[in-house]
């Protein structure tokens, strides 16, 4: 078949098991975890692709892919239902008799070389499925092409004292990378990799094949591919990104990122300047009803909710019922959860489809300066009448 050429194909690594999100990813792949009232984490990189003019996206998934598959469907909500390109969920060795897990991030791309070749792209954009940010990849690709780079890695400045937690790119004044250090004890700079890479496809393909042949390789981008390309004298450039970016791979960072949506001038504005909307699968739900006795302050409430209680500094997702005399403070309530009368929830994440029976108390308040511990109730759980879920407890 003769396929039209694509300038850039995006490959989204959605395979992470998300073990640090505990019960929230028990039956859900991390990218399918709800975020911000009506979104899933994967909506952010997917919408960035669409807003950057990238219309061919492969989603690499292996853990609990069912829900993710269902959510992505034919890609219509993102305008990715195309006859050539569009979005495709790529499980390990689809269509092959040999069934094998993706051994690592690089192996996941290796197993899909055929998918990428179909589009004969100049560049391949590698993305992670667990970051919340808004970014115009087109600008990064332009930078990549202008520098005739083999790899361009998006970096952001992190506080120097935190640099040892990240993959750090040490650069020359022209932006070229001379050294890559994974979680260095003594960091030389604070350019932290965001896990967003643009590769020249011809170069990436060669190294993927070589890497696959190396039995000692962990088949990982950060550990194997990037050092190998760097050490063989190729051109690597760092692309500075300024703006909100958050890895939501832990309970506390997921909670924090939700809280950072709040306020009249929030740290991350879901609406942005209106030019790069975040698309999501929308369900046919009526507008929300807000009762007289409710008191909603500094919060986000999505459609399809009925709110009779008080919601303060919280995010309430689509299709929830918040009964009367409920108090929500610093809480994240995921979609389709029912909270019965008199429940008090503070500093907590409540998963999708839960029922919190009357009088239950989940989480607690924290004094200024005290370390917050987020209580978590997993998807589809029922918390019984007057049950207590302690601060930081995970159910």
């Amino acid at each position: 078949m003769n396929f039209q050429k694509k300038r850039c194909v995006a490959m989204l690594l959605a395979g992470g098991q998300g073990t640090r999100l505990y019960v929230l990813t028990e039956n859900t792949a991390k990218p399918a975890v709800p975020f911000g009232g009506k979104y899933r984490i994967i909506d952010f990189p997917l919408s960035n692709c669409v807003n950057s003019g990238i219309d061919t996206v492969g989603i690499l998934t292996q853990y609990q892919p069912l829900e993710l598959n269902e959510y992505i469907g034919n890609g219509q909500p993102w305008g990715l239902n195309r006859s050539h390109g569009g979005v495709q969920v790529l499980p390990p060795y689809a269509g092959s008799k040999k069934s094998e897990w993706y051994k690592g991030t690089a192996n996941a791309i290796y197993q899909n070389i055929k998918f990428i070749e179909r589009y004969n792209p100049d560049n391949v954009l590698i993305l992670s499925g667990d970051h919340i940010y808004r970014m115009d990849y087109a600008k990064m690709i332009k930078y990549h092409e202008e520098h005739d780079a083999d790899i361009t890695i998006a970096v952001r400045k992190v506080p120097m004292e935190e640099a040892s937690r990240f993959g750090i790119m040490n650069t020359n004044p022209d932006g070229s990378i001379y050294e890559f250090e994974e979680k260095p004890k003594q960091p030389k700079s604070n350019n932290a990799s965001m896990g967003i890479y643009v590769f020249k496809w011809s170069v990436l393909k060669k190294f993927l094949i070589e890497d696959e042949e190396d039995p000692n390789s962990e088949n990982d981008f950060g550990k194997n591919i990037i050092p190998a390309i760097l050490n063989s004298g190729h051109k690597l450039f760092a692309y500075d990104f300024e703006g909100y970016w958050k890895d939501v791979g832990t309970i506390s960072s997921l909670w924090e990122a939700n809280m950072e949506l709040l306020g009249t001038d929030p740290e991350f504005n879901l609406y942005g300047d209106g030019s790069a909307p975040i698309f999501a699968r929308n369900y046919a739900l009526p507008a929300s009803y807000i009762d007289t006795k409710s008191k909603n302050i500094n919060c986000l409430i999505a459609e399809g909710c009925e709110v009779y209680g008080s919601v303060k500094h919280s995010v309430v997702s689509t299709g929830c019922k918040i009964s009367k005399d409920v108090v929500l403070e610093d809480a994240v309530i995921m979609p389709n959860t029912v909270i019965e009368e008199g429940v008090i929830i503070r500093n907590a994440i409540i998963g999708e489809g839960c029922t919190i029976r009357s009088g239950a108390v989940i989480g607690g308040a924290f004094r200024e300066g005290e370390k917050r511990q987020i209580a978590v109730v997993g998807k589809d759980h029922v918390i019984e009448v007057n049950q207590v879920v302690k601060p930081g407890e995970v159910i």
Partner: protein, 373 residues
């Protein structure tokens, strides 16, 4: 219900809705925070498995077509001719249709003939309800009548002019029928929904039009029933049905969904109301906001106070502004300290800081699309 097709009349009450239908059909009037009136009609049909729907529209139909598109929200794009707009010009009629019968006769050779369905449901977008049309069709077939009209009690009050009103005897048979009549309370009001065999409808419409009879209720249903040529049954609908046939009714009925019982009847399990999807962010309620008894759609930013009002998508309510008993359509902006009571703000209205507008329930202040006050 593969054996039933739908025919929706989009312009029926345009003239009695004043400035609200200046630039749109009655069917595309916004309703309930995120819907257009026709969403209810189309969703009722789609939920009953109806896969072919014709929409008769005469003028101002740009916004209606934009809203419905290919009908994909109702899965109507899946089949050939799933959805078709029937306009006078596309049917070779050089003037406006003189009534529903002329539209039906004109559509006969085209859209109506394409479908293989045996039955047809006629509806307009003036009555907001969630109705299980399978029940209506089954009752119609079981009754053996030529036509079944869906009727609602409690609407006739001796004042409201009804298109078609019927009175039933103790056996549930129609004992009296009247058109354009302010019927007393013991009459039932037609919801503008009729079911019959398609071949009978087409034959009757053609015959009526050839005798210059164009008006469906008066010159076909009533006349042929009175002449003993047509048997007509009534199907009583027990759930909520809101008649939006005038500006005042439209205003009241928009606020009506704040009532839990009405809301829960219109949005019932298994009768999902579909509409065009828009990617709006969840609603933000500000630090000093006070929102009581309101319906709020996505994309709103509410920083002021609001009471007993309906907010469509993307409304900005500034700090210190107060909105009471209002219908605020999409993308309106209400400035700091503005005070609104009993108003209908059409889309994209901008109210400047400190402006005060007070209407009444009977005569709400109506601002046109894009007005700046």
């Amino acid at each position: 219900m593969k054996n039933v097709m739908g025919l929706v009349f989009a312009n029926i009450y345009d003239s009695s809705l004043g400035q609200l239908t200046n630039k749109r059909t009655q069917a595309s009037l916004p309703y309930g925070g995120r819907y257009r009136q026709i969403d209810f009609t189309l969703s009722n049909m789609a939920n009953a498995g109806i896969r072919h729907i014709g929409i008769v529209t005469q003028y101002n139909f740009q916004s209606l077509m934009n809203h419905i598109g290919s009908g994909e929200e109702w899965d109507l794009e899946l089949e050939e001719n799933g959805l078709e707009f029937i306009t006078p010009y596309s049917m070779g009629v050089s003037n406006n249709f003189r009534g529903k019968l002329e539209a039906i006769a004109a559509a006969n050779s085209g859209y109506l003939a394409k479908g293989k369905e045996e039955y047809i449901i006629l509806a307009d977008a003036a009555v907001i309800c969630a109705i299980k049309l399978e029940d209506v069709v089954n009752a119609h077939i079981a009754s053996g009548k030529d036509v079944t009209v869906v009727v609602k009690s409690g609407i006739a009050n001796g004042k409201k002019q009804l298109d078609l009103a019927v009175r039933l005897d103790e056996n549930g048979e129609i004992s009296d029928m009247a058109v354009d009549y302010a019927a007393p309370e013991d009459y039932l009001a037609s919801m503008g929904m009729f079911i019959m065999r398609k071949d009978l409808l087409v034959k009757s419409a053609e015959e009526c039009v050839s005798h210059n009879r164009y008006r469906f209720e008066r010159e076909f249903i009533l006349q042929d029933w009175a002449d003993g040529l047509l048997s007509v049954g009534a199907y009583q609908f027990d759930e909520v049905a809101l008649f939006n046939e005038s500006t005042e009714e439209y205003f009241r009925n928009n606020l009506a969904i704040i009532d839990k019982n009405i809301r829960h009847s219109l949005f019932r399990e298994g009768l999902t109301i579909y509409t065009k999807v828009r990617d709006q962010v969840p609603v933000y309620y500000g630090e000093n906001s006070e929102v009581d008894d309101c319906i709020v759609a996505d994309g709103c930013v509410l920083l002021g106070s609001a009471f007993n009002s309906v907010f469509f998508r993307g409304v900005k309510l500034s700090t210190g502004a107060s909105v009471k008993n209002c219908v605020v359509m999409a993308n309106c902006e209400i400035g700091i300290g503005a005070q609104l009571e009993y108003c209908i703000l059409d889309k994209d209205v901008k109210i400047n800081a400190g402006v005060k507008l007070i209407g009444t329930l009977e005569h709400p202040v109506i601002l046109n699309r894009g007005d700046v006050v």
